[in-house]
């Protein structure tokens, strides 16, 4: 079941396009990581989904409801945390949670207490007196205590120290399964540790969207070692799905973006004849992201 869907979503600020016909789907139970360079449109996408901004064109649905029509009933099943959100900083952690509780029929006091304990939050301290990490933890508790069906996180780890990130990820993982999540982040290493799906957004367009396992399976860094120095084949013969080719006297490296052991081996054999050794290495998400970003930049 799809909990979140956009069709042809576009957004312009004055004349500058930020989103350009975005089609995105997030299935129930998934943890969807929305990645992309600065200005790619991640935050704009999330704000349109949450009915904070209005799209210039296209349509967005959240929990089966047009995002422009998100009402209290739907919002009671959605958690939203953003790095630049404003909270009522005159409230203490305790009074903030107590204030929010009546808005949510599914509010779980025990869960809230567990999270406060787990995050080691000072209940009687005002939000304005909290450090950035603690402030973000309070925002998380306020969005997880009612066991939302959908949790939307906009750059939740930005500017946080590793310990705080670790705590937050534990909190998120505790909710995984019962809560579908959409997370936008630059922190690819953290996303990689728990995202089940990845969408790559660049210049307002979704470049790809697929399961994490599929992505990490199809991207491989391949290193070919030759008997003697071998030049790179002519561009016309170089497969378009092999990115970032590098040639050294007796070594050629590239990134295979559609890795399949048999097909990739066959294509290598067709292009090179004196390969002494083939090294195939899985790639971390960060390396995949950099590869795609550089390929796009080069193509542009």
């Amino acid at each position: 079941m799809t909990l979140l869907r956009t069709n042809g979503l576009s957004k312009r600020y004055r004349r500058a396009p930020v989103l350009d016909g975005l089609d995105l789907e997030v299935s129930e139970g998934s943890v969807f990581g929305l990645i992309g360079p600065n200005g790619a449109g991640k935050t704009t996408t999330i704000k349109i989904l949450m009915n904070i901004l209005r799209a210039t064109a296209g349509r967005a649905e959240v929990l089966g409801v047009d995002s422009r029509q998100l009402g209290p009933e739907t919002l009671a099943r959605i958690g939203y945390v953003s790095e630049n959100q404003e909270l009522p900083d005159w409230m203490t952690v305790k009074s903030f949670l107590a204030y929010l509780k009546p808005f949510y029929p599914a509010w779980d006091d025990a869960r809230a207490a567990d999270l406060v304990r787990q995050f080691d939050l000072p209940r009687d301290r005002k939000l304005r007196q909290l450090s950035r990490g603690m402030w973000m933890k309070a925002a998380f508790v306020a969005s997880l205590a009612y066991r939302p069906k959908l949790l939307v996180l906009d750059e939740p780890f930005s500017g946080l120290d590793p310990l705080i990130r670790e705590d937050l990820i534990h909190g998120i993982l505790d909710s995984a399964g019962e809560t579908t999540m959409l997370i936008s982040s630059h922190d690819l290493a953290e996303i990689e540790s728990f995202a089940s799906h990845i969408g790559y957004l660049d210049r307002g367009r979704l470049q790809f969207s697929e399961e994490m396992t599929s992505l990490t399976t199809r991207f491989r860094e391949i290193e070919l070692t030759f008997e003697s120095p071998a030049p790179l084949p002519d561009d016309r013969h170089w497969p378009s799905h092999w990115l970032r080719p590098e040639a050294m006297p007796a070594v050629v490296r590239f990134v295979e973006t559609r890795f399949d052991p048999e097909r990739t081996a066959r294509e290598i054999r067709n292009l090179f004849h004196n390969v002494r050794h083939v090294s195939v290495n899985p790639m971390p998400l960060r390396a995949i992201f950099v590869t795609i970003a550089r390929a796009k930049a080069a193509a542009a």
Binding site: K47, M50, N51, I52, L53, G71, P72, E73, L75, A76, I78, Y80, S82, N84, Q85, E86, L87, P88, W90, Y99, L100, P102, F103, Y104
Partner: protein, 462 residues
């Protein structure tokens, strides 16, 4: 869960200092009313309205509440409840306290007290809330509020300079209520449209553009609509139509100026008029007049601002002296010529009422129609009323001295005007109060118009 009381109680906890400031201002106002407290009271109340609306700021994309399950109806209800409780109820209690303390009869104050609260909600609370709803913080709200107040105070002076020149300007006070009521209705409609657009869809750009355009357009209409519009409405009010049928108006063709030097390049020019044919026991009083003077060479000048005084009412004929300020340039060229004039006069018939003799004291005495009169420190006569001056033509007669409060009368059917201080006091010039004073209060019956035509006018003869 009822969200409104929940949000309301949160706002009370959040804004207890601002609430305390408003309540303190209210107490000082009711207790002593020093000159500065009205400003403090209004400023703190406006600040409180801005702060409570901004507790859930509408413009912007970073507020926590917009992704929380708020019901917009509950949010609006909570904010309005808060404003009523901590802005309008203190004003209500202040005004009630003052009129009761001042001894106004209870039966005469309720309608005014109620209508005064309606005006405060319409003219202060709702516009302030709408302004706060389209601003993103206290700074922009204060700036926009000051700009609005300054514009409201200064633009009429710039657009209608005759307001400053003439005793009775283009907006005669007796029908100013028509223009003001239309203006208040426009303000309420604009505020409600903006609040609805903001709280249902957070359409800030639309609200700002609509609010600004409608306010500018409404203000332009308010300023540019001719003063005759007010009389047009006034004449449609229920009245005794037959009473005016035989009434005629005449103007003596000779006029004169009564000063030798121009004042600000204007000469005061006086005409004598007679309004006759009023039924017995009725008195006709001129309200406003427009005359277009035409020179033999075709040059014209329109006189709209007149100061008209009834000098005597012998045999049912009101003898009136009407003075206008004629531009020196026109006067100097036309003074030895024969002029013609066309125009019209609005006047009102008043019914006589039994006179009431009261022995005035230093403390105010209730003299009926919600009016209290008393003797001032120099034995001059003062009268005061609650929420508005009575809709009556009030005369005070002391010995042979007769004084009227004619220039204060408004034909408004509404029982209050917008003023924080519910007591309106005036001094009756010309009437001393060292003797027993007779008060006459005449009720306006109907307002009429007569077209005027005067030929052969000479400005150099009176």
């Amino acid at each position: 869960m009822h969200q409104a009381p929940h949000i309301f109680s949160k706002d009370v906890r959040y804004l207890y200092r601002e609430i305390a400031l408003v309540l303190l201002s209210a107490i000082i106002f009711a207790w002593k009313n020093p000159w500065w407290v009205e400003f403090l009271y209004m400023a703190s109340a406006a600040l409180l309205i801005g702060r409570v609306i901004h507790a859930e700021t509408i413009p912007g994309d970073r507020q926590f509440w917009i992704t929380r399950p708020y019901r917009w109806q509950s949010l609006v209800a909570a904010k309005l409840l808060f404003i009523l409780a901590f802005v309008n109820v203190p004003i209500f209690l202040d005004q009630l306290f003052i009129v009761v303390r001042d001894g106004f009869p209870m039966g005469s104050i309720w309608a005014g007290l109620f209508w005064s609260q309606v005006l405060w909600i319409f003219c202060f609370s709702l516009p302030a809330a709408a302004l706060a709803a389209v601003t993103s913080g206290l700074g922009p709200f204060v700036f926009a509020s000051l700009a609005a107040v300054l514009a409201a105070l200064s633009v009429p002076q710039l657009v209608l300079p005759e307001f400053r020149l003439l005793p009775i300007g283009p907006r005669p006070i007796m029908v100013e209520w028509v223009h003001n009521s239309a203006g208040i209705a426009a303000v309420v409609v604009i505020a409600l449209v903006v609040l609805r657009a903001q709280y249902t869809h957070r359409r800030t750009l639309f609200s700002r553009v609509f609010g600004l355009a409608a306010t500018v357009g409404g203000a332009a209409a308010f300023l540019l609509v001719p003063w005759t519009f007010g009389f047009g409405v006034q004449m449609r009010m229920p009245h005794v139509a037959a009473a005016a049928a035989p009434i005629s108006v005449s103007i003596a063709p000779s006029a004169g100026r009564f000063v030798q030097q121009s004042r600000n390049n204007f000469f005061p020019v006086r005409f004598r008029m007679a309004i006759g044919g009023a039924p017995d026991s009725l008195e006709a009083r001129p309200d406003a007049m427009q005359l277009t003077f035409t020179r033999p060479n075709g040059q014209t000048w329109i006189a709209e601002g007149w100061n008209a005084q009834v000098r005597s009412v012998p045999n049912g004929v009101s003898k009136v002296e009407a003075t206008t300020m004629m531009p020196a340039s026109f006067y100097e060229e036309a003074r030895h010529e024969t002029l013609n004039a066309r125009g019209f006069l609005y006047f009102t018939l008043f019914e006589s009422a039994p006179s009431k003799s009261v022995a005035l004291a230093d403390k105010p005495v209730n003299v009926g129609e919600g009016l209290q009169c008393y003797r001032g420190a120099f034995k001059e006569l003062y009268c005061r009323s609650a929420f508005r001056w009575p809709g009556r033509l009030v005369y005070a007669k002391s010995g042979s001295d007769l004084s009227s409060f004619y220039n204060l009368i408004s034909y408004s059917p509404f029982p209050a005007v917008l003023d924080l201080d519910p007591v309106e006091s005036h001094w009756a010039g010309g009437a001393s109060s060292d003797r027993e004073t007779t008060l006459l209060m005449k009720k306006p019956l109907a307002t009429f118009r007569r077209d005027l035509q005067v030929d052969g006018i000479r400005l150099d003869r009176e």
